[in-house]
Amino acid sequence: MNPFSSGTRLRDMIRAIRACKTAAEERAVIRKECAAIRAAIDENDHDYRHRNLAKLMFIHMLGYPTHFGQMECLKLIASAGFPEKRIGYLGLMLLLDERQEVLMLVTNSLKQDLNHSNQYIVGLALCALGNICSAEMARDLAPEVERLLQFRDPNIRKKAALCSIRIIRKVPDLAENFVNPAASLLKEKHHGVMITGVQLCTELCKHSSEALEYFRKKSTEGAVKTLKDLVNSPYAPEYDIAGITDPFLHIRLLKFLRVLGHEDADASDYMNDILAQVATKTESNKNAGNAILYECVETIMSIEDSGGLRVLAINILGRFLSNRDNNIRYVALNMLMKAITVDGQAVQRHRATILECVKDSDASIRKRALELVYLLVNESNVKPLTKELIDYLEVADQEFKGDLTAKICSIVAKYSPEKIWYIDQMLKVLSEAGNFVKDEVWHGLIVVISNASDLHGYTVRALYRAFQISSEQESLVRVTVWCIGEYGDMLVNNIGMLDIEDPIVVTESDAVDVAETAIKRHNSDLTIKAMAMIALLKLSSRFPSCSERINHLIVQYKGSLVLELQQRSIEFNSIIASHQNMRSTLVERMPVLDEATFIGKRAGSIPASVSSSNRAAINLPNGVSKSAAPLVDLLDLSSDEVPVPSSSGSDFIQDLLGLDLSAAPEQSGSNPAPKSGTDVLLDLLSIGTTPPAQSSAFPADILSNQEKSPTSQLDGLSSLSLLPASKASAPVSSSTIDLLGGLAPNVASSDENGSVYPSIVAYESGSLRITFDFSKAAGSPQTTLIHATFKNLSPNVYSNFIFQAAVPKFLQLHLDPASGSTLPGSGNGSITQKLKVTNSQYGKKHLVMRLRIAYKVDDKDILEEAQVNNFPRNL
């Protein structure tokens, strides 16, 4: 009886399912069927096993659970007949995957079938193994597959080749066994064997560099010849597609050549002729031909440069780009993105066309083109490109605006030549698509505005104008409200007029109107309302004449259901009503926001852009760049939490260096390289302690002093790192004396504690000292308890004192809350904080830690960072 033709009941089931009008009906039918199948399974019904399984596959395809049929597959596979096995293996591949335990049971049947005398059954087993085998099965059955690579029938050899791919993916160690048989597959004439053999060889090259070397030597010639024969082959009806013989084999061969030629001049040289032939002779009026050209271009781009070929490839892409067929244009954009690293100039030539593609009606093409434009932007073309993109923003689809806005903001932030241009562009984006702008973008804009003191008036007036037109754009409203609160007086009095501006007349009450509109808009969210509330408070002091009206507005929120608004309303009301005398000082203009901190945070939130550019040279936090080797530890450490400033690109990091660090890069140039083999880190970091005005001879002296001093105590110096400007100007001599003076009591105290590990001074600047005391948690040597003590040696009180620490991945850090946040001056008190560090590589690696200390002195934010690597070695 034939299991496939007797499927009337299967047909009935499918009809019944198709007849269902609703999903609920369908579920009912399926439930009934599943019940019947389960019953049949329980009765061990042989006659309908295959048909039941076929039904299960259909049910599975519809997305219903079918796990109860898995054992049936195994039974069918174990039966003797071909048709049963056929459907059993199909069920196995569809209903099971490699994660299921049941799969273990099938290994034995597979082994038997791989050795079966019927080659069709061998084929079935190979196919199943190739689709679902797990690592264990791969190990068990690899010898069988290896043998089958030399089977007499090519149809088995081709399946064995693909099966081998699965095996080496699961168990890469087995790769070497397959190298020789794979190479011999390349010499065959059967297309199926060739295409699978080429794929196997490509895969082997990926897994093992020895295999790659082997194929480069032995098979480059063969692969080139095969491709040549294929290109010049006479009409072969069985493989012909649009006049080309087997384009699929073409493509796989080109892929293989790409792997062989990549970073190998000899192999690349060898394949030049055939690539040129494919690139020039292939018909480009049919899809199959274009597919080959596309692959050929990619191969040319990846192999070693030979001038002429690259020109050919870029020309093909140019033709693709002007093609009317959207598919072709899509792949052209895709390819140009890869070509940009190889030949940026050539791609720039197509800029206008690419920009047109950003405006295409097809979302796929737009997305590709936008990404490409993003890569094309540089300092010289940022202005026209941004203008084009912003113009397009006006007419772009709603769903595309999000992507487009994000890219524009990123371009503007990265390449803006001057602040006024940055502000102008951001205002345009906010007015067009303010609802799509991410929070950090408008936060960033506010930071920039706050820092551009000569543009405050200009900005607030421009925002006022924009607000009149686009008051529905949320982030525009936020920035406007904030600026009017801060710089409202400049708006009304036209202060800081630039030549390019038209004067406008805004009364005080007009300015208050803006905040009122923002707070009363029905779709304003809490952020806008809260910001508007603060703006109103500030305006009440700036514009005494409107004070009454503002108070009235604020009072309306006394009964707000949102706690935040209610609280602000009540507090602000009392400030306006009963604290007239202190109001003006209370609502003074906000201190300039710290651009560096913000940029640093933003850099931290996009680690990808940092890590991609920090390969070549590494800049230590104090701006000294050195070659990588001795600093690997430090690098590891900082890539976890703290952005690594890199010299090879990113502007904002340069900003960070310039702004945040007083020990500027130019200083580093004047310092002689360390003379002897002392710890480079020590030298580098200690450079940061020298004041910028110092002559080059002086730091050299300090360096040599350190080299001479034998004590480990001076290691404390190595943790000295960047110092804010105010600190760096303190004389060096005093800081060293402080350090030495400060050490004595410290060592004593650790003796008193009787702890096994000596205490260390983890960090010391001219005024701040951090000491660490150690103890071990009972019973777990990996865990170290650190008792950190912070002392302030300067006469000023430090407020908002925050201590943060970061450790590399092999450590785990737990910080308890600090004992306080105010640190009295002159060493009259201390803050303590407990840290718990667990070292997962205890005994192999030593503790290292990075510190960041933030505090306020005289209303100024100070940030200090340091690296601690003088921990006792056995922690």
Binding site: N2, F4, L10, R11, I14, R18, A54, M57, F58, H60, M61, L62, G63, P65, F82, P83, I87, L90, L94, D97, E98, R99, Y120, G123, G130, N155, K158, K159, L162, C163, I165, R166, H191, G192, I195, T196, Q199, E238, Y239, I241, P247, F248, L249, I251, R252, N287, A288, A291, Y294, E295, N326, N327, R329, Y330, V331, N334, S361, D362, S364, I365
Partner: protein
């Protein structure tokens, strides 16, 4: 890896054949199919045949009421996959004679057998129609 899944879906968005070459749970499959089908079916004839979705690239082609959707890796040759879909349709045409949605539904296992001869573990096995079909014809003859 190359091909990661092959779907055949009708105009109403009902799956008619699904073959995955990677492990996804039933729920993940349902969600993925729903998202992809919604995305692809909404596109018009003039738009290109490629859609990026999650970390897949979907290459799709419509034949009468049936959509063929192939999910591939990002570095796969999209145009070649398009050609491959056509080869699949031609192969089924040769076997069923003017293949239609119902042929695939009622002969689901045969459609799978053909696919099995053409793609294994996401790689192309065979591109000659007669080589693909010969084991299936042999099986039919013997029964």
């Amino acid at each position: 890896m190359g091909i990661r899944f092959i779907l055949m879906v009708n105009k109403q968005g009902q799956t008619r054949l699904a073959q995955y070459y990677e492990n996804l749970t039933l729920e993940e499959r349902r969600a993925l199919e729903g998202e992809i089908v919604r995305k692809c079916l909404a596109r018009n004839e003039q738009q290109c045949s490629f859609v990026e979705h999650r970390n897949y690239k979907i290459v799709y082609r419509r034949y009468a009421s049936l959509f063929f959707l192939v999910g591939v890796d990002n570095d796969e040759n999209e145009l070649a996959i398009l050609e491959f879909i056509h080869l699949l349709v031609e192969t089924m045409d040769r076997h069923f004679g003017n293949v239609c949605e119902l042929d695939i539904m009622f002969h689901l296992e045969k459609a799978h057998f053909m696919l099995e001869e053409m793609v294994m573990n996401g790689c192309i096995v065979e591109t000659s129609k007669s080589n693909i079909l010969s084991p299936i014809q042999l099986m039919e003859k013997s029964s």
